[in-house]
Symmetry: C2
């Protein structure tokens, strides 16, 4: 049980994942549990942490967590840090649950050009793990239910922007007339329908009109019901990329390579869609959250 | 029972409404039933028509219907007529159910600049009832689950465009995280939150980002849960108006007054939002569908 330098915990809304990391910042082992903050009753976070860590509970390595566990609805609030936010600013916002020796990384807050606040919790840590402090300029995307795009300059998160792409896709397919147009699809997906949707999403704003095409194309016999899901995913991701690139052009004086942070099927979709948009991309290494926690812990002097 | 010139029927997806009209085209009486085409089992449209008409069944006046009853899923298909579509083109597409002496007005089809088809059924008849043939140029909006905007020149529907605004609002409020931010609201609504949303929707495209503000504004204490619904409605309607006006500028060489076809709470919202956008509006008279059916019936020579 000895030898680990950090227990890093990515603790979100629906699940939690813990990593034991060695002195070089490599992940040596991981555990997970369906113990996100919405799954924990009566505020028994201490019990949840013990369940998540299991036999690691006796490990004396420092513990650092990120994600919704630090929100107002979580264990203890680690108030949002404002952008532009350096690694030191994140370190300065670390909040500690004394009774469990658990430190929590704060989230970030910014305001868009209309003055509307935008927030992230957990993604700031993944960014810290996926973008090195000596990289001059990176545009990072974290695909998901609420996709985040962040402009990062020499390790500082200058600004970011949230898109509800994944959630829109889900509610439209499950609860709207577009889902009723969609035939049950076998697992494999239609790359052609997806790219057709991406082209449509990239071409123009106004998804409220564009997505109605899922209905009319099927009615007109120009798309099959089994293609609706992939096409709709393409339209929404294409529209997100179009909007995010326009936003990034305002933030950056020049262009930037896009780093995709994620290692699932969805990340591959963004890679294909960004290629379609003619944008150069690279994929972050795995375990971005764990790497970020290790980097923040190091900067904070938490490591023994 | 005598004296009526036309029995006009607006027969949609969820309900049906019948009007007895006199020789001057005025509505003398109306009946309705929850007998839209999705409510009718085993194709018993004849029984549904008898239930809807009740004692009017013995009225020998000609019967003309519009709406989803003429769709492929309806009683008999009245194939879509392509835009630009004149009143004569609509008349040419009328299809008749012989056994019930029921004539049905066709819907319209167009393609947007991406080649994607767009369709309407029922709205073409409301437009015929709400826009006179000697009006040079009208931009008509029919607010609803799937809002329609139509460019009408001297009675010809030049082109139209659908926006899934109402359905998006419904699924987001019922099934997304934004709905969970929304407190149960007492009936009266917040005009201020609505207009604040309209301003945001009018200001820029990219609703996938904008709507996330319903979450962050509440989190930041800058909006109350009871304002979420009205704000979201404003953002979506504002974004629709922005997109539709841009589209109409491409269709028309000049500007146009906007005619709002609808007589409910939603129509009033569009009136307020369009005023906010600085656009002149007027409201169509009531019974646009009945008036349109009467006009089409007259043009078709159906009236005795």
């Amino acid at each position: 049980m000895s030898g680990s330098t950090l227990i890093a915990i990515d603790w979100g809304t629906t699940s939690a994942r813990a990593y034991r990391m060695d002195a070089r910042g490599a992940v040596r082992d991981e555990r997970s549990a369906p113990l996100g903050i919405t799954q924990i009753s009566s505020g028994r976070y201490d019990q949840a942490l013990e369940t998540l860590l299991g036999e690691w509970t006796s490990d004396r390595a420092p513990r650092l967590a990120c994600g919704m566990i630090g929100s107002r609805q979580g264990w203890i609030e680690a108030p949002y840090v404002a952008c532009p936010a350096s690694l030191d600013a994140l370190v300065g916002g670390i909040t500690t649950v004394r009774e469990s020796d658990l430190s929590i990384v704060p989230g970030l807050i910014t305001r868009d050009r209309f003055g509307t606040p935008d927030v992230m919790r957990g993604e700031e840590t993944q960014i810290a793990g996926a973008v090195a402090s000596d990289e001059a300029r990176v545009l990072a995307v974290l695909p998901g239910t609420h996709s985040k795009w962040a402009c990062v300059e020499r390790g500082v998160v200058v600004d970011f922007n949230t898109y509800m792409t994944g959630e829109l896709y889900g509610v439209l397919l499950s609860h709207s007339i577009l889902g009723r147009m969609s035939a049950a699809t076998p697992e494999g997906d239609s790359g052609a329908a997806f790219l057709r949707g991406v082209d449509r999403g990239l071409a123009a704003d106004g998804i409220t009109h564009a997505i109605f095409g899922a209905r009319t194309l099927v009615l007109a016999g120009e798309m099959t019901g089994s293609e609706v899901g992939d096409w709709l995913s393409g339209v929404l991701i294409g529209a997100e990329i179009r909007a995010a690139l326009a936003w990034a052009r305002e933030e950056f004086t020049g262009t930037a390579r896009v780093r995709i942070i994620g290692d699932d099927h969805l990340a591959a979709r963004y890679e294909n869609a960004l290629a379609r948009a003619g944008v150069a991309t690279d994929m972050a290494d795995r375990h971005a959250a764990a790497r970020g926690l290790w980097r923040i812990a190091t900067q904070a002097g938490l490591l023994h």
